[in-house]
Symmetry: none
């Protein structure tokens, strides 16, 4: 989840921002003055900072410089002052954007999206570990003892359904529907066929599976 630090001394604005940002899936921390802001930034390490310039204890550029000393997170400045000199000062101090109050909340969210989009995609994909095997669903990559394992498209689909329901029993019907389509209900021989192939490729001892389990009469289960 993307972490946003909101710095504003006016409680109603801070509250409005917290509500709107949370509603859009951001994890929000708030601070009411510059000192709090710097402390909070060090604690939570935000991915983006929304900073009101009219703080009681410090000048806006001081806060920006304090953050820029160690963080590269985008800083989006809010301010009641529309004078160009103010904007220029803030931007040159290290801010990434400058919005004057009153502002449209939709526009602010769009600017937040634009700012996070730039720095965002530096994350790696989650990897599922199955004993000696690692599965990277996003990259579509399977490794067994470091060696690359090739799966066919159908094998991938089947494995993906199981891995996305870890520990849960998935009925044969659901597996058939999600891999082969809604018209397949009774072709359990397909499942037998492909589960065997998956076990052959992923399990240490395919005859005695530990992670890709059969529940006779019901379906199959992936145990992490």
């Amino acid at each position: 989840m993307i972490k946003v630090l909101v710095v504003d001394d006016e409680p109603q604005i801070a509250r409005a921002l917290r509500i709107n940002l949370s509603a859009h899936g951001y994890e929000v921390t708030t601070a009411a003055d510059g000192a709090q802001a710097l402390r909070a930034a060090a604690a939570v390490v935000p991915d983006l900072v929304v900073l009101d310039l009219g703080l009681p204890d410090m000048d806006g550029s001081e806060v920006i410089e304090g953050l820029r000393g160690w963080s590269k997170a985008p800083i989006l400045v809010l301010s009641g002052r529309a004078a160009s000199a103010e904007k220029i000062a803030a931007l040159d101090a290290g801010a990434d954007d400058y919005v004057t109050k009153p502002f449209d909340i939709g526009e602010l969210l769009a600017r937040v999206r634009a700012a996070t989009r730039r720095s965002g995609p530096g994350s790696e994909s989650p990897v599922t570990a199955i004993g000696p095997v690692t599965v990277d669903l996003a990259a579509r990559e399977v490794r067994k003892d470091g060696e690359e394992v090739r799966l066919t498209p159908t094998e991938w689909q089947l494995l993906e359904v199981l891995l996305r329901n870890p520990g849960k029993l998935v009925s044969q019907r659901e597996l058939l529907h999600r891999v082969w389509g809604p018209n397949y209900d009774r072709e359990t021989n397909y499942l037998r066929q492909y589960m065997a192939q998956l076990r052959r490729k992923l399990e240490a001892d395919p005859a005695r599976p530990v992670h890709l389990l059969t529940e006779p009469g019901m379906g199959y289960r992936f145990r992490p």
Copy 2:
């Protein structure tokens, strides 16, 4: 020198921007409409684009998407429209900043500085090495054993999508969408054709590719 592409159909504004930006040490190219803009962008590969939305031939978001297809350069939008919906649309299309006319030239320059500051030092030499081949995405230059290799525009787009997802499998659908547009879903013969050309130009042994790999039935993958 930082290269800026200015796109504006009003000559006086384009001229004013050119003069001001040049005076501050930027290398400026101008374009008067969307088609010119996209062609100029492909030719000079700018580090930043200043884009007026009121172009005669194309919609603003089209231009933005056309650029975003292959370039990560910051896009600073100029517009006479102050409506929030316009701003949100432009920002979500891929723009980095939105300034309403009339604007203060000092503020614009500050926003240009802020935008270039981000991408400037952060973007470490984006040269990708593929065995005996080096690819410089920013400079649009490919060298094989020191010799320069020429790629067509389509080849560039395809290669860029793959290189920006190192190790990750990119589905044929996504490749078609990002290179040919959202209306192409099943034209996998295009992919076969152009992947073969890329391998012929980049791989040491095009018949046995090591870096541009096929995942049958799924897509293609670039392995560093």
